[in-house]
Protein backbone atom coordinates (compact mmCIF):
# COMPACT_ATOMS: atom_id res chain seq x y z
CA UNK A 1 0.00 0.00 0.00
CA UNK A 2 1.25 3.51 -0.73
CA UNK A 3 1.90 6.01 1.98
CA UNK A 4 -1.03 8.14 3.11
CA UNK A 5 -1.28 11.80 3.96
CA UNK A 6 -2.26 12.67 7.48
CA UNK A 7 -3.94 15.81 8.64
CA UNK A 8 -4.85 16.91 12.15
CA UNK A 9 -7.36 19.75 12.07
CA UNK A 10 -7.82 21.76 15.26
CA UNK A 11 -7.67 18.57 17.29
CA UNK A 12 -8.28 18.80 21.01
CA UNK A 13 -8.58 16.34 23.84
CA UNK A 14 -10.17 17.32 27.11
CA UNK A 15 -10.42 14.69 29.82
CA UNK A 16 -13.58 14.96 31.90
CA UNK A 17 -12.84 16.65 35.19
CA UNK A 18 -9.46 17.99 34.07
CA UNK A 19 -9.01 21.74 34.33
CA UNK A 20 -6.83 22.14 31.23
CA UNK A 21 -7.06 20.22 27.96
CA UNK A 22 -4.43 17.54 27.28
CA UNK A 23 -4.30 18.67 23.66
CA UNK A 24 -5.40 22.12 22.63
CA UNK A 25 -6.24 23.00 19.05
CA UNK A 26 -3.48 21.00 17.38
CA UNK A 27 -3.17 21.25 13.62
CA UNK A 28 -0.55 19.36 11.64
CA UNK A 29 -0.16 18.22 8.08
CA UNK A 30 2.08 15.30 7.28
CA UNK A 31 2.88 14.55 3.69
CA UNK A 32 2.91 11.03 2.33
CA UNK A 33 6.19 9.24 2.94
CA UNK A 34 7.40 11.72 5.56
CA UNK A 35 8.55 11.08 9.09
CA UNK A 36 6.85 13.55 11.39
CA UNK A 37 8.37 13.58 14.86
CA UNK A 38 6.32 14.70 17.85
CA UNK A 39 8.76 15.90 20.47
CA UNK A 40 8.48 17.69 23.77
CA UNK A 41 9.04 17.34 27.50
CA UNK A 42 7.08 14.71 29.38
CA UNK A 43 3.49 15.69 29.96
CA UNK A 44 3.29 17.70 26.75
CA UNK A 45 0.74 15.33 25.25
CA UNK A 46 2.85 13.94 22.43
CA UNK A 47 1.86 10.33 23.10
CA UNK A 48 -1.77 11.37 23.55
CA UNK A 49 -1.65 13.17 20.21
CA UNK A 50 -0.29 10.04 18.54
CA UNK A 51 -2.87 7.78 20.14
CA UNK A 52 -5.69 10.01 18.94
CA UNK A 53 -4.77 9.08 15.38
CA UNK A 54 -5.59 5.37 15.68
CA UNK A 55 -8.31 6.11 18.20
CA UNK A 56 -6.64 4.40 21.13
CA UNK A 57 -7.83 7.64 22.72
CA UNK A 58 -10.90 9.42 21.36
CA UNK A 59 -10.57 13.10 20.59
CA UNK A 60 -13.04 15.64 21.92
CA UNK A 61 -12.73 18.24 19.20
CA UNK A 62 -11.49 18.72 15.66
CA UNK A 63 -10.87 16.13 13.00
CA UNK A 64 -8.16 13.70 11.92
CA UNK A 65 -7.99 12.87 8.24
CA UNK A 66 -6.13 9.90 6.84
CA UNK A 67 -5.80 10.27 3.06
CA UNK A 68 -8.61 12.80 3.29
CA UNK A 69 -11.03 10.49 5.13
CA UNK A 70 -11.91 11.03 8.76
CA UNK A 71 -10.64 8.28 11.03
CA UNK A 72 -14.01 8.47 12.75
CA UNK A 73 -15.78 7.08 9.74
CA UNK A 74 -14.34 3.64 10.50
CA UNK A 75 -14.57 1.03 13.25
CA UNK A 76 -11.56 1.49 15.56
CA UNK A 77 -10.31 -2.09 15.30
CA UNK A 78 -10.50 -2.02 11.48
CA UNK A 79 -8.86 1.39 11.31
CA UNK A 80 -5.99 0.16 13.47
CA UNK A 81 -5.27 -2.75 11.14
CA UNK A 82 -4.41 -0.15 8.50
CA UNK A 83 -2.08 1.75 10.82
CA UNK A 84 1.19 0.23 11.97
CA UNK A 85 1.71 0.50 15.72
CA UNK A 86 5.01 0.15 17.57
CA UNK A 87 5.59 1.18 21.18
CA UNK A 88 8.59 1.49 23.47
CA UNK A 89 7.59 -1.52 25.56
CA UNK A 90 7.14 -3.44 22.28
CA UNK A 91 4.41 -5.64 23.74
CA UNK A 92 5.18 -8.77 21.75
CA UNK A 93 2.83 -11.65 22.56
CA UNK A 94 4.99 -13.85 24.80
CA UNK A 95 3.03 -17.03 24.03
CA UNK A 96 3.41 -16.69 20.27
CA UNK A 97 6.44 -17.31 18.09
CA UNK A 98 8.18 -14.47 16.30
CA UNK A 99 6.50 -15.57 13.07
CA UNK A 100 3.05 -15.56 14.69
CA UNK A 101 3.74 -12.18 16.24
CA UNK A 102 4.73 -10.67 12.92
CA UNK A 103 1.72 -12.21 11.17
CA UNK A 104 -0.76 -10.73 13.68
CA UNK A 105 -2.37 -8.14 11.42
CA UNK A 106 -2.17 -10.21 8.20
CA UNK A 107 -4.09 -12.96 10.01
CA UNK A 108 -6.67 -10.47 11.25
CA UNK A 109 -7.07 -9.32 7.67
CA UNK A 110 -7.69 -12.91 6.62
CA UNK A 111 -4.59 -13.51 4.51
CA UNK A 112 -4.09 -17.16 3.64
CA UNK A 113 -1.32 -19.16 5.23
CA UNK A 114 1.10 -19.12 2.32
CA UNK A 115 0.85 -15.36 1.97
CA UNK A 116 1.45 -14.89 5.69
CA UNK A 117 4.50 -17.18 5.62
CA UNK A 118 5.96 -15.32 2.64
CA UNK A 119 5.40 -11.99 4.28
CA UNK A 120 7.07 -13.15 7.51
CA UNK A 121 10.12 -14.34 5.55
CA UNK A 122 10.26 -11.03 3.70
CA UNK A 123 10.11 -9.03 6.91
CA UNK A 124 12.68 -11.17 8.74
CA UNK A 125 14.98 -10.40 5.84
CA UNK A 126 14.12 -6.71 5.93
CA UNK A 127 14.89 -6.37 9.65
CA UNK A 128 18.01 -8.49 9.29
CA UNK A 129 17.09 -11.43 11.51
CA UNK A 130 17.96 -15.01 10.48
CA UNK A 131 14.95 -17.00 9.25
CA UNK A 132 15.37 -19.73 11.88
CA UNK A 133 14.58 -17.13 14.55
CA UNK A 134 10.99 -17.04 13.29
CA UNK A 135 10.18 -20.14 15.31
CA UNK A 136 11.58 -18.76 18.56
CA UNK A 137 9.61 -17.05 21.30
CA UNK A 138 10.10 -13.41 22.32
CA UNK A 139 11.73 -14.39 25.62
CA UNK A 140 14.54 -16.04 23.64
CA UNK A 141 15.51 -12.82 21.83
CA UNK A 142 17.67 -9.90 22.91
CA UNK A 143 16.15 -6.49 23.53
CA UNK A 144 17.38 -5.11 20.22
CA UNK A 145 16.03 -8.11 18.32
CA UNK A 146 12.63 -7.78 20.00
CA UNK A 147 12.62 -4.10 19.08
CA UNK A 148 13.15 -5.05 15.42
CA UNK A 149 10.39 -7.65 15.58
CA UNK A 150 8.09 -4.97 17.00
CA UNK A 151 8.80 -2.81 13.96
CA UNK A 152 8.33 -5.79 11.62
CA UNK A 153 4.96 -6.56 13.22
CA UNK A 154 3.89 -2.95 12.70
CA UNK A 155 4.96 -3.14 9.05
CA UNK A 156 3.44 -6.57 8.37
CA UNK A 157 0.32 -5.63 6.47
CA UNK A 158 2.14 -2.86 4.61
CA UNK A 159 0.14 -0.06 6.27
CA UNK A 160 0.16 3.40 4.68
CA UNK A 161 0.77 5.01 8.08
CA UNK A 162 2.90 3.96 11.04
CA UNK A 163 2.70 5.22 14.61
CA UNK A 164 5.83 4.76 16.68
CA UNK A 165 6.01 5.76 20.34
CA UNK A 166 9.64 5.96 21.48
CA UNK A 167 10.32 2.69 19.68
CA UNK A 168 14.02 2.78 20.53
CA UNK A 169 13.64 4.28 24.00
CA UNK A 170 14.32 1.09 25.95
CA UNK A 171 17.60 0.06 24.31
CA UNK A 172 21.13 1.11 25.23
CA UNK A 173 22.66 4.09 23.37
CA UNK A 174 24.88 1.99 21.09
CA UNK A 175 22.06 -0.27 19.97
CA UNK A 176 19.71 2.68 19.73
CA UNK A 177 21.99 4.41 17.27
CA UNK A 178 22.21 1.22 15.23
CA UNK A 179 18.45 0.69 15.27
CA UNK A 180 17.90 4.32 14.25
CA UNK A 181 20.25 3.98 11.30
CA UNK A 182 18.70 0.67 10.34
CA UNK A 183 15.27 2.20 10.57
CA UNK A 184 16.21 5.15 8.38
CA UNK A 185 17.57 2.71 5.78
CA UNK A 186 14.36 0.72 6.06
CA UNK A 187 12.27 3.85 5.65
CA UNK A 188 14.26 4.76 2.53
CA UNK A 189 12.99 1.48 1.08
CA UNK A 190 9.40 1.40 2.32
CA UNK A 191 8.64 5.15 2.31
CA UNK A 192 5.80 5.09 4.85
CA UNK A 193 4.15 8.06 6.43
CA UNK A 194 5.34 7.89 10.01
CA UNK A 195 4.37 9.65 13.21
CA UNK A 196 7.26 9.20 15.58
CA UNK A 197 7.08 10.20 19.25
CA UNK A 198 10.19 10.93 21.30
CA UNK A 199 11.33 13.14 24.15
CA UNK A 200 14.88 13.20 22.80
CA UNK A 201 15.58 16.22 20.61
CA UNK A 202 18.66 14.57 19.12
CA UNK A 203 16.60 11.60 18.02
CA UNK A 204 13.97 13.96 16.65
CA UNK A 205 16.55 15.86 14.61
CA UNK A 206 18.04 12.64 13.31
CA UNK A 207 14.81 10.86 12.41
CA UNK A 208 12.45 13.63 11.44
CA UNK A 209 11.67 15.11 8.04
CA UNK A 210 9.55 17.49 10.04
CA UNK A 211 9.44 18.05 13.76
CA UNK A 212 6.48 19.19 15.81
CA UNK A 213 7.64 20.58 19.14
CA UNK A 214 4.85 20.42 21.70
CA UNK A 215 4.71 22.19 25.00
CA UNK A 216 2.60 21.60 28.06
CA UNK A 217 -1.10 21.25 27.31
CA UNK A 218 -0.43 19.87 23.87
CA UNK A 219 0.21 23.31 22.40
CA UNK A 220 2.20 23.26 19.18
CA UNK A 221 5.25 25.45 19.72
CA UNK A 222 6.78 24.96 16.28
CA UNK A 223 6.34 22.68 13.29
CA UNK A 224 9.36 22.79 11.01
CA UNK A 225 12.16 20.85 9.36
CA UNK A 226 15.11 20.01 11.62
CA UNK A 227 17.27 22.68 9.95
CA UNK A 228 14.61 25.36 10.37
CA UNK A 229 14.09 24.38 13.97
CA UNK A 230 17.79 24.76 14.73
CA UNK A 231 18.26 27.91 12.68
CA UNK A 232 15.21 29.78 13.81
CA UNK A 233 13.54 28.54 16.98
CA UNK A 234 10.07 30.09 17.15
CA UNK A 235 10.28 31.12 20.80
CA UNK A 236 12.28 30.78 24.00
CA UNK A 237 10.67 27.45 24.79
CA UNK A 238 11.84 25.89 21.53
CA UNK A 239 15.23 27.51 21.86
CA UNK A 240 15.65 26.05 25.34
CA UNK A 241 14.37 22.72 24.22
CA UNK A 242 16.70 22.32 21.25
CA UNK A 243 19.55 23.26 23.56
CA UNK A 244 22.42 25.73 23.69
CA UNK A 245 24.48 23.54 21.37
CA UNK A 246 22.09 23.93 18.47
CA UNK A 247 24.87 25.14 16.18
CA UNK A 248 26.61 21.82 16.73
CA UNK A 249 23.35 19.95 16.21
CA UNK A 250 23.00 21.83 12.94
CA UNK A 251 26.37 20.35 11.94
CA UNK A 252 24.98 16.88 12.58
CA UNK A 253 22.47 17.40 9.80
CA UNK A 254 25.00 17.88 7.01
CA UNK A 255 27.86 15.86 5.69
CA UNK A 256 31.24 17.07 4.48
CA UNK A 257 30.21 16.55 0.84
CA UNK A 258 27.20 18.84 1.32
CA UNK A 259 29.23 22.03 1.74
CA UNK A 260 31.57 23.83 -0.57
CA UNK A 261 35.16 22.84 0.17
CA UNK A 262 38.30 24.75 -0.65
CA UNK A 263 39.91 23.37 -3.78
CA UNK A 264 43.09 21.41 -3.00
CA UNK A 265 46.34 22.62 -4.61
CA UNK A 266 48.07 19.36 -5.35
CA UNK A 267 51.55 18.45 -6.56
CA UNK A 268 53.28 15.14 -7.15
CA UNK A 269 56.89 14.12 -6.70
CA UNK A 270 58.91 15.41 -9.68
CA UNK A 271 56.70 18.38 -10.43
CA UNK A 272 58.64 21.61 -10.99
CA UNK A 273 58.89 23.69 -7.84
CA UNK A 274 58.16 26.90 -9.66
CA UNK A 275 54.68 25.68 -10.37
CA UNK A 276 54.34 24.35 -6.83
CA UNK A 277 55.29 27.70 -5.32
CA UNK A 278 52.75 29.38 -7.53
CA UNK A 279 50.06 27.00 -6.31
CA UNK A 280 51.10 27.53 -2.70
CA UNK A 281 50.71 31.26 -3.14
CA UNK A 282 47.16 30.77 -4.47
CA UNK A 283 46.19 28.44 -1.69
CA UNK A 284 44.33 29.97 1.24
CA UNK A 285 46.47 27.84 3.54
CA UNK A 286 49.77 28.84 1.98
CA UNK A 287 50.62 25.20 1.46
CA UNK A 288 50.46 22.73 -1.36
CA UNK A 289 49.42 19.16 -0.85
CA UNK A 290 51.76 16.40 -1.96
CA UNK A 291 49.79 13.46 -3.32
CA UNK A 292 50.69 10.07 -4.79
CA UNK A 293 49.69 8.80 -8.25
CA UNK A 294 46.28 7.76 -6.88
CA UNK A 295 45.80 11.35 -5.59
CA UNK A 296 45.95 10.16 -2.01
CA UNK A 297 47.41 12.81 0.35
CA UNK A 298 51.04 12.38 1.55
CA UNK A 299 52.20 15.65 3.11
CA UNK A 300 51.70 19.40 3.34
CA UNK A 301 54.55 21.31 1.71
CA UNK A 302 55.43 24.95 2.49
CA UNK A 303 57.75 27.46 0.87
CA UNK A 304 60.79 25.91 2.57
CA UNK A 305 60.06 22.44 1.27
CA UNK A 306 59.93 23.83 -2.25
CA UNK A 307 63.42 25.37 -2.39
CA UNK A 308 64.94 22.97 -4.96
CA UNK A 309 63.88 22.86 -8.58
CA UNK A 310 61.75 19.74 -8.38
CA UNK A 311 59.37 18.48 -5.72
CA UNK A 312 61.12 15.79 -3.74
CA UNK A 313 59.61 12.97 -1.71
CA UNK A 314 58.27 14.02 1.70
CA UNK A 315 56.61 12.25 4.53
CA UNK A 316 54.31 14.10 6.87
CA UNK A 317 51.15 13.90 8.89
CA UNK A 318 47.98 14.93 7.13
CA UNK A 319 44.74 15.30 9.04
CA UNK A 320 41.96 13.93 6.88
CA UNK A 321 38.19 13.58 7.06
CA UNK A 322 35.87 11.58 4.84
CA UNK A 323 33.34 13.27 2.62
CA UNK A 324 30.65 10.98 4.10
CA UNK A 325 31.41 12.12 7.65
CA UNK A 326 28.89 14.33 9.41
CA UNK A 327 30.17 17.90 9.63
CA UNK A 328 29.99 17.59 13.39
CA UNK A 329 32.27 14.54 13.40
CA UNK A 330 34.63 16.14 10.88
CA UNK A 331 34.92 19.27 13.03
CA UNK A 332 35.59 17.08 16.02
CA UNK A 333 38.38 15.33 14.08
CA UNK A 334 39.98 18.67 13.21
CA UNK A 335 39.81 19.86 16.80
CA UNK A 336 41.23 16.61 18.02
CA UNK A 337 44.14 16.83 15.59
CA UNK A 338 44.64 20.47 16.69
CA UNK A 339 44.57 21.75 13.12
CA UNK A 340 42.53 24.44 11.41
CA UNK A 341 42.06 22.50 8.20
CA UNK A 342 42.16 18.96 6.95
CA UNK A 343 41.97 17.04 3.69
CA UNK A 344 38.58 15.72 2.73
CA UNK A 345 38.94 12.34 1.03
CA UNK A 346 36.39 10.11 -0.69
CA UNK A 347 35.79 6.45 0.03
CA UNK A 348 38.86 5.45 -2.03
CA UNK A 349 41.06 7.90 -0.14
CA UNK A 350 41.32 10.36 -3.04
CA UNK A 351 41.47 14.06 -2.24
CA UNK A 352 38.12 15.82 -2.69
CA UNK A 353 39.04 19.20 -1.24
CA UNK A 354 40.08 20.98 1.90
CA UNK A 355 37.79 21.33 4.90
CA UNK A 356 38.64 24.10 7.32
CA UNK A 357 37.18 25.37 10.58
CA UNK A 358 36.67 28.63 8.72
CA UNK A 359 34.42 26.97 6.14
CA UNK A 360 32.33 25.42 8.88
CA UNK A 361 31.99 28.74 10.70
CA UNK A 362 30.98 30.36 7.43
CA UNK A 363 28.44 27.63 6.77
CA UNK A 364 26.84 28.28 10.15
CA UNK A 365 27.06 32.01 9.57
CA UNK A 366 25.07 31.65 6.36
CA UNK A 367 22.29 30.01 8.33
CA UNK A 368 21.34 33.15 10.22
CA UNK A 369 22.85 35.96 12.22
CA UNK A 370 22.06 34.34 15.57
CA UNK A 371 24.80 31.84 15.12
CA UNK A 372 27.54 34.30 14.37
CA UNK A 373 26.73 36.25 17.51
CA UNK A 374 26.55 33.11 19.51
CA UNK A 375 29.84 31.85 18.15
CA UNK A 376 31.46 35.23 18.76
CA UNK A 377 30.17 35.31 22.30
CA UNK A 378 31.50 31.83 22.88
CA UNK A 379 34.87 32.84 21.45
CA UNK A 380 34.95 35.87 23.77
CA UNK A 381 34.31 33.66 26.74
CA UNK A 382 37.11 31.34 25.80
CA UNK A 383 39.48 34.26 25.19
Amino acid sequence: MDAATLELRNVSKQYPGAAAPAIADLSLEVEAGEICVLVGPSGCGKTTAMRLINRMIELTGGEILLDGTSVHSRKPSELRRDIGYAIQQIGLFPHQTIAQNIATVPKLLGWDKARCTNRVEELMELIGLPQEMAERFPAQLSGGQRQRVGVARALAADPPLMLMDEPFGAVDPINRERLQNEFLRLQAQVRKTIVFVTHDIDEAIKMGDRIAVLKEGGVLAQFATPAELLMAPADDFVEDFVGADRALKRLALERVRDIELWPARMVQVGDPNVKARELAAQSPTGHVLLVDEGSRPLAWLNERDLSFDKVGPHKGRVASVEVDDLLRDALSDLLQDQVLYGVAVDAEGRVAGILSVEIIAQFLGDQGPGHIEEAAAAADRIA
Partner: protein, 250 residues
Protein backbone atom coordinates in the same frame (compact mmCIF):
# COMPACT_ATOMS: atom_id res chain seq x y z
CA UNK B 1 1.76 -48.67 70.69
CA UNK B 2 3.39 -48.19 67.31
CA UNK B 3 2.67 -51.76 66.39
CA UNK B 4 -0.96 -51.22 67.35
CA UNK B 5 -1.18 -48.20 65.06
CA UNK B 6 0.37 -50.21 62.24
CA UNK B 7 -2.17 -52.96 62.79
CA UNK B 8 -5.00 -50.46 62.61
CA UNK B 9 -3.52 -48.98 59.44
CA UNK B 10 -3.28 -52.43 57.83
CA UNK B 11 -6.84 -53.21 58.86
CA UNK B 12 -7.96 -49.93 57.35
CA UNK B 13 -6.29 -50.75 54.06
CA UNK B 14 -7.77 -54.28 54.12
CA UNK B 15 -11.21 -52.65 54.50
CA UNK B 16 -10.67 -50.99 51.13
CA UNK B 17 -9.94 -54.21 49.30
CA UNK B 18 -12.09 -56.85 51.02
CA UNK B 19 -15.72 -56.58 52.04
CA UNK B 20 -16.71 -57.66 55.55
CA UNK B 21 -19.70 -57.81 57.87
CA UNK B 22 -20.79 -54.49 59.34
CA UNK B 23 -20.26 -53.93 63.02
CA UNK B 24 -23.88 -54.80 63.86
CA UNK B 25 -23.76 -57.66 61.37
CA UNK B 26 -26.12 -58.58 58.54
CA UNK B 27 -24.75 -56.09 55.97
CA UNK B 28 -21.60 -56.33 53.88
CA UNK B 29 -19.36 -53.22 53.96
CA UNK B 30 -15.97 -52.31 52.52
CA UNK B 31 -14.23 -53.66 49.42
CA UNK B 32 -16.42 -53.62 46.33
CA UNK B 33 -19.33 -52.41 48.47
CA UNK B 34 -17.50 -49.04 48.51
CA UNK B 35 -17.84 -48.56 44.76
CA UNK B 36 -21.30 -46.91 44.79
CA UNK B 37 -20.04 -44.56 47.51
CA UNK B 38 -16.97 -43.75 45.47
CA UNK B 39 -19.15 -43.18 42.40
CA UNK B 40 -21.44 -40.80 44.28
CA UNK B 41 -18.46 -39.01 45.78
CA UNK B 42 -16.80 -38.44 42.43
CA UNK B 43 -20.10 -37.44 40.85
CA UNK B 44 -20.81 -34.63 43.31
CA UNK B 45 -17.14 -33.57 43.20
CA UNK B 46 -17.16 -33.29 39.42
CA UNK B 47 -20.54 -31.55 39.33
CA UNK B 48 -19.37 -29.03 41.91
CA UNK B 49 -16.02 -28.32 40.25
CA UNK B 50 -17.38 -28.16 36.71
CA UNK B 51 -20.31 -25.95 37.68
CA UNK B 52 -18.04 -23.63 39.61
CA UNK B 53 -15.66 -23.43 36.63
CA UNK B 54 -18.49 -22.68 34.20
CA UNK B 55 -19.80 -19.92 36.45
CA UNK B 56 -16.61 -18.39 37.79
CA UNK B 57 -14.31 -18.36 34.73
CA UNK B 58 -16.50 -16.37 32.30
CA UNK B 59 -17.60 -13.95 35.00
CA UNK B 60 -14.06 -13.36 36.21
CA UNK B 61 -12.82 -12.91 32.63
CA UNK B 62 -15.54 -10.38 31.93
CA UNK B 63 -14.89 -8.39 35.08
CA UNK B 64 -11.12 -8.49 34.76
CA UNK B 65 -11.14 -7.62 31.04
CA UNK B 66 -13.45 -4.67 31.47
CA UNK B 67 -11.47 -3.60 34.53
CA UNK B 68 -14.48 -3.71 36.78
CA UNK B 69 -15.02 -5.63 39.99
CA UNK B 70 -11.65 -5.61 41.70
CA UNK B 71 -13.60 -5.11 44.89
CA UNK B 72 -15.94 -7.99 44.06
CA UNK B 73 -12.93 -10.23 43.40
CA UNK B 74 -11.33 -9.55 46.73
CA UNK B 75 -14.65 -9.90 48.56
CA UNK B 76 -15.34 -13.26 46.96
CA UNK B 77 -11.86 -14.45 47.85
CA UNK B 78 -12.11 -13.36 51.45
CA UNK B 79 -15.65 -14.62 52.05
CA UNK B 80 -14.69 -17.92 50.44
CA UNK B 81 -11.83 -18.30 52.84
CA UNK B 82 -13.70 -17.21 55.93
CA UNK B 83 -16.87 -19.30 55.71
CA UNK B 84 -16.43 -22.94 56.79
CA UNK B 85 -17.64 -25.37 54.16
CA UNK B 86 -19.70 -27.38 56.63
CA UNK B 87 -21.70 -24.23 57.38
CA UNK B 88 -22.34 -23.65 53.68
CA UNK B 89 -23.52 -27.19 53.10
CA UNK B 90 -25.75 -27.36 56.17
CA UNK B 91 -27.09 -23.82 55.77
CA UNK B 92 -28.35 -24.41 52.26
CA UNK B 93 -29.85 -27.77 53.13
CA UNK B 94 -32.31 -25.77 55.18
CA UNK B 95 -33.55 -24.12 51.97
CA UNK B 96 -32.95 -26.71 49.26
CA UNK B 97 -33.69 -29.80 51.32
CA UNK B 98 -31.64 -32.93 51.49
CA UNK B 99 -30.11 -34.49 48.43
CA UNK B 100 -27.61 -34.18 45.63
CA UNK B 101 -28.83 -30.75 44.51
CA UNK B 102 -28.17 -29.21 47.87
CA UNK B 103 -24.78 -30.84 48.25
CA UNK B 104 -23.65 -29.84 44.76
CA UNK B 105 -24.88 -26.32 45.39
CA UNK B 106 -22.79 -26.08 48.53
CA UNK B 107 -19.75 -27.60 46.88
CA UNK B 108 -20.08 -25.23 43.93
CA UNK B 109 -20.15 -22.24 46.23
CA UNK B 110 -17.09 -23.63 47.92
CA UNK B 111 -15.27 -24.14 44.61
CA UNK B 112 -16.02 -20.72 43.14
CA UNK B 113 -13.65 -18.44 45.12
CA UNK B 114 -10.29 -20.00 44.16
CA UNK B 115 -11.29 -20.33 40.51
CA UNK B 116 -12.77 -16.83 40.37
CA UNK B 117 -9.82 -15.20 42.08
CA UNK B 118 -7.20 -17.01 40.05
CA UNK B 119 -8.96 -16.26 36.77
CA UNK B 120 -9.45 -12.61 37.70
CA UNK B 121 -5.85 -12.16 38.73
CA UNK B 122 -4.69 -14.26 35.76
CA UNK B 123 -6.32 -11.89 33.31
CA UNK B 124 -5.23 -8.82 35.24
CA UNK B 125 -1.60 -9.86 35.46
CA UNK B 126 -1.26 -9.99 31.67
CA UNK B 127 1.26 -7.27 30.81
CA UNK B 128 -0.65 -4.05 30.04
CA UNK B 129 1.84 -3.29 27.26
CA UNK B 130 0.97 -6.58 25.57
CA UNK B 131 -2.72 -5.73 25.76
CA UNK B 132 -2.05 -2.19 24.51
CA UNK B 133 -0.06 -3.59 21.59
CA UNK B 134 -2.88 -6.03 20.83
CA UNK B 135 -5.41 -3.20 20.75
CA UNK B 136 -3.09 -1.11 18.65
CA UNK B 137 -2.69 -3.89 16.08
CA UNK B 138 -6.46 -3.92 15.70
CA UNK B 139 -7.62 -6.93 17.74
CA UNK B 140 -11.22 -6.54 18.87
CA UNK B 141 -12.12 -6.84 22.55
CA UNK B 142 -13.17 -10.48 22.14
CA UNK B 143 -10.02 -11.29 20.17
CA UNK B 144 -7.88 -9.76 22.90
CA UNK B 145 -9.58 -12.06 25.42
CA UNK B 146 -9.36 -15.25 23.36
CA UNK B 147 -5.98 -14.73 21.71
CA UNK B 148 -4.00 -12.90 24.36
CA UNK B 149 -5.49 -12.70 27.83
CA UNK B 150 -6.93 -16.20 28.10
CA UNK B 151 -3.90 -18.16 26.82
CA UNK B 152 -1.62 -16.16 29.08
CA UNK B 153 -3.75 -16.79 32.17
CA UNK B 154 -4.48 -20.51 31.59
CA UNK B 155 -1.83 -21.67 34.09
CA UNK B 156 -3.40 -19.59 36.83
CA UNK B 157 -6.93 -20.62 35.89
CA UNK B 158 -6.02 -24.31 36.06
CA UNK B 159 -4.23 -23.61 39.33
CA UNK B 160 -7.54 -22.33 40.71
CA UNK B 161 -9.47 -25.34 39.44
CA UNK B 162 -6.86 -27.59 41.02
CA UNK B 163 -7.22 -25.95 44.42
CA UNK B 164 -11.00 -26.12 44.20
CA UNK B 165 -10.99 -29.76 43.14
CA UNK B 166 -8.96 -30.77 46.17
CA UNK B 167 -11.18 -28.72 48.49
CA UNK B 168 -14.31 -30.25 47.00
CA UNK B 169 -13.05 -33.83 47.16
CA UNK B 170 -12.39 -33.35 50.85
CA UNK B 171 -15.64 -31.54 51.53
CA UNK B 172 -17.85 -34.04 49.67
CA UNK B 173 -17.22 -36.14 52.76
CA UNK B 174 -20.00 -34.12 54.41
CA UNK B 175 -22.50 -35.67 51.97
CA UNK B 176 -24.17 -38.03 54.42
CA UNK B 177 -25.07 -35.06 56.65
CA UNK B 178 -27.45 -33.89 53.91
CA UNK B 179 -28.53 -37.33 52.79
CA UNK B 180 -26.03 -38.09 50.01
CA UNK B 181 -24.11 -41.31 50.62
CA UNK B 182 -20.57 -40.39 49.62
CA UNK B 183 -17.28 -41.74 50.92
CA UNK B 184 -18.02 -39.63 53.97
CA UNK B 185 -20.43 -42.28 55.20
CA UNK B 186 -17.82 -44.70 56.66
CA UNK B 187 -16.11 -41.76 58.29
CA UNK B 188 -19.22 -40.29 59.85
CA UNK B 189 -20.69 -43.64 60.89
CA UNK B 190 -18.00 -45.69 62.60
CA UNK B 191 -20.83 -47.45 64.42
CA UNK B 192 -21.66 -49.25 61.17
CA UNK B 193 -18.31 -49.46 59.37
CA UNK B 194 -16.02 -49.82 62.35
CA UNK B 195 -12.72 -48.07 63.05
CA UNK B 196 -11.12 -49.83 60.08
CA UNK B 197 -13.80 -48.41 57.79
CA UNK B 198 -13.26 -44.89 59.13
CA UNK B 199 -9.50 -45.01 58.73
CA UNK B 200 -9.50 -46.86 55.41
CA UNK B 201 -11.92 -44.43 53.76
CA UNK B 202 -10.01 -41.45 55.10
CA UNK B 203 -6.89 -42.87 53.47
CA UNK B 204 -8.79 -43.40 50.21
CA UNK B 205 -10.03 -39.79 50.15
CA UNK B 206 -6.55 -38.52 50.85
CA UNK B 207 -5.22 -40.62 47.96
CA UNK B 208 -7.91 -39.26 45.60
CA UNK B 209 -7.08 -35.69 46.64
CA UNK B 210 -3.37 -36.19 46.04
CA UNK B 211 -4.02 -37.93 42.72
CA UNK B 212 -6.30 -35.08 41.67
CA UNK B 213 -3.62 -32.60 42.65
CA UNK B 214 -1.09 -34.41 40.47
CA UNK B 215 -3.43 -34.76 37.49
CA UNK B 216 -4.26 -31.07 37.58
CA UNK B 217 -0.61 -30.15 38.00
CA UNK B 218 -0.01 -32.05 34.75
CA UNK B 219 -2.92 -30.29 33.02
CA UNK B 220 -1.71 -26.94 34.31
CA UNK B 221 1.73 -27.56 32.84
CA UNK B 222 0.32 -28.73 29.55
CA UNK B 223 -1.93 -25.66 29.39
CA UNK B 224 0.96 -23.26 29.88
CA UNK B 225 1.80 -21.73 26.47
CA UNK B 226 5.23 -22.77 25.29
CA UNK B 227 6.64 -19.27 25.10
CA UNK B 228 6.09 -18.59 28.79
CA UNK B 229 6.82 -22.10 30.08
CA UNK B 230 9.54 -22.46 32.65
CA UNK B 231 11.28 -25.68 33.57
CA UNK B 232 10.53 -24.92 37.21
CA UNK B 233 7.32 -26.76 38.11
CA UNK B 234 6.85 -24.93 41.38
CA UNK B 235 6.51 -21.62 39.63
CA UNK B 236 2.91 -21.85 38.51
CA UNK B 237 1.84 -22.84 41.98
CA UNK B 238 3.81 -20.04 43.58
CA UNK B 239 2.27 -17.67 41.08
CA UNK B 240 -1.14 -18.97 42.04
CA UNK B 241 -0.50 -18.48 45.72
CA UNK B 242 0.86 -15.01 45.12
CA UNK B 243 -2.17 -14.26 43.01
CA UNK B 244 -4.51 -15.17 45.85
CA UNK B 245 -2.51 -13.08 48.26
CA UNK B 246 -2.63 -10.16 45.88
CA UNK B 247 -6.35 -10.50 45.34
CA UNK B 248 -7.04 -10.47 49.03
CA UNK B 249 -5.04 -7.28 49.43
CA UNK B 250 -6.71 -5.44 46.54
Amino acid sequence: MILGALDQFQDGLRFLFESRDSVAGGVQVGGSELLPLLGEHMKVTLYGTVLATLLAVPLAIFLAHTGRGAFAASSVANVGRAVPSIAVVLFFSAYLGFGVTNLVFGLTLLAIPPIFTNTFVGIRQVDTDVVDAARGQGLSGLQIVTKVELPLSLPLIFGGIRTSFVNVVATATLGPLVGVVTLGDPILSPGVYGAAGQLGTAILIAVIAVAGELVFAGIQRAATPKGIRRSDPGRARRLGRRAQLRASSV
